[in-house]
């Protein structure tokens, strides 16, 4: 009885370990990235690996087998590598749906001295949710100006706008203009 109990525990632990191992083999080290992608596309059922000339991830919706694309995610630093703030690029992950609306952005990495109170605060990222790529993305008009951090904020906004537009030009068909 006692040995049987022990055997059962060992078996359970082994099974658990096997499941964990299998999962981490399926997603080698990019659990964090998957979580970030999921944050931009909560309804997506799967994501492609990074691909394309303008490197991006495809977000699939519905049955993963059908590979129906629901949107794209990409790193601003890969699409606009020359954009820079105070001290190099501001690395952001951007989600873009098929109509040219931003599903969100995640500020991942930067070395901006004034970033801790400008791009790091959640309000910065949330104001991009639902923005249309035809919007001007101009700091002070449709993006909140953060006084004292204008170099950082304007650089980040330019990076989001220009990388999203680059994606749109290559992969999206503009929606029909509303009939008059």
């Amino acid at each position: 009885m006692r040995t049987g109990g022990l055997a059962r525990v060992v078996a359970l632990v082994a099974a658990g370990a096997a499941v964990v191992a299998a999962q981490s083999a399926a997603a080698p080290g990019d659990a964090k990235l998957q979580a970030q992608l999921k944050q931009l596309f909560p309804v997506a059922t799967a994501f492609s690996a990074k691909e394309g000339d303008s490197p991006h991830f495809k977000a699939y919706v519905g049955d993963p087998a059908t590979k129906t694309i629901g949107g794209y995610a990409f790193w601003t630093t890969e699409l606009e590598p020359l954009e820079r703030g105070y001290d190099g690029p501001i690395k952001m992950l951007v989600g873009l749906d098929l109509k040219g609306m931003l599903t969100g952005i995640i500020v991942v990495e930067h070395r901006e001295p004034y970033g801790y109170f400008s791009v790091d605060v959640p309000q910065f990222a949330t104001q991009f949710v639902g923005k249309n790529i035809r919007d001007p993305f101009r700091v002070g008009s449709d993006i909140d100006a953060i006084s004292r951090a204008s170099i950082t904020i304007t650089s980040a906004s330019r990076a989001v706008r220009n990388s999203a537009r680059r994606m749109a030009r290559q992969y999206l068909t503009p929606p029909e203009p509303p009939k008059q």
Binding site: P113, S147, S155
Partner: protein, 344 residues
């Protein structure tokens, strides 16, 4: 001897970017490759690609007119402020100097909050700077600071920097009996601490790339009013200490000041001294920055506050004029100048 050492330090500092050059030379070759690839491809399949036709901006590169116009307000304000500072400097006017200091606190500090920081020194040395065309004021500011330091000395520290302006104004308000005059020997040694801060901070930046550390080295973040508890406690300590020891931070601790001090060894237009200065101690006693040692003015400590130069011009006080007068040389003298009267 001392100047030679300072020149050597400056040379070493300026050669740092050269040392990192091979590192960076490798980068651009990969960067533009990834940067240009998408746009090149884009042109290839334009017919299918660009149905969006984003009208304005980025396709037709903005003209310089547009770029300048979008930053015009900032440019004009900054130009006005530096003009005010320079006019006060050239006129040796006390009143304009006070106006400059007050506007520095309000405009450079509370309104703009972008002072030259150790981060910018690191940026300059590591070749990491913002994009030129979008940040004209930043470059104008940086350029003005470097050029004015080479031309006249640490003018930046004396009138442009908002923190320095604030502590200088503090010094005029705080009752003199609270002030503790540090012994000369201590003053001279403590002045070197800032170079250690400069070297230490730069080494730390080059080693770790962790720029946010700057907030614990310099207090300029205070104008952004965004700090952690530790930062506020440090700032409060510094300000309380500044009540007792004037311009404590600028004289002994500031790494940006240390960088400009190294640069100021190259100063072109120095303060001229009379032969009488060898024995006279009036200016040395008046100097609030500990920059006058006997007959020489130590360029790296001098922030061009004008205090000694106003004395030179004062024919009632400066022995140079008093001796001339005694010799009967009154006829050669310029019109009587008194710093209390309104300057031209």
């Amino acid at each position: 001897m001392r100047r030679a050492a300072a020149r050597l330090a400056l040379l070493a500092l300026l050669s740092l970017p050269l040392a990192t050059l091979p590192l960076r030379a490798a980068q651009p070759s990969t960067q533009p490759a990834t940067g240009e690839a998408p746009s090149a491809r884009q042109k290839g399949d334009r017919a299918t690609a660009d149905q969006w036709n984003f009208a304005e901006e980025e396709e037709a590169a903005e003209s310089w007119g547009q770029i300048v116009r979008s930053q015009a307000v900032d440019l004009v304000l900054f130009a006005a402020f530096t003009t005010l500072a320079l006019v006060g400097f050239f006129q040796k006017s006390v009143r304009l100097q006070l106006v400059t200091l007050a506007s520095s606190v309000v405009y450079m500090g509370l309104y703009k909050s972008q002072l030259i920081s150790i981060v910018n020194v690191y940026g300059l040395l590591s070749g990491n700077l913002p994009i030129f065309k979008y940040n004209l004021v930043f470059y104008l500011f940086g350029g003005f600071t470097l050029v004015s330091t080479v031309l006249w000395g640490r003018l930046y520290c004396g009138r442009i920097c908002a923190f320095g302006a604030m502590t200088q104004l503090m010094d005029r308000i705080v009752p003199a009996r609270l002030r503790f005059e540090v012994p000369k020997a201590f003053d001279r040694r403590a002045a070197y601490v800032k170079y250690a801060f400069l070297g230490g901070a730069l080494l730390y930046f080059f080693a770790t790339g962790d720029l946010l550390f700057y907030r614990y080295v310099e207090p300029f973040w205070m104008f952004t009013r965004q700090g952690t508890v530790v930062m506020w406690i440090g700032l409060a300590t510094l300000l309380v200490a500044t009540v007792f020891i004037r311009n404590l931070y600028c004289r002994f601790l500031c790494p940006v000041g240390a960088f400009l001090a190294l640069l100021s060894n190259l100063t072109v237009f120095r303060i001229t001294r009379w032969s009488e200065c060898k024995t006279c101690k009036i200016c040395e006693k008046t100097c609030e920055w500990g920059a006058i040692r006997g007959p020489t003015i130590v360029a790296s400590e001098c922030v061009r506050c004008d205090d000694c130069e106003r004395l030179y011009l004062d024919q009632q006080k400066c022995p140079h004029w008093l001796i001339l007068k005694k010799k009967g040389g009154v006829a050669y003298m310029a019109p009587v100048y008194s710093p209390t009267a309104h300057s031209p």
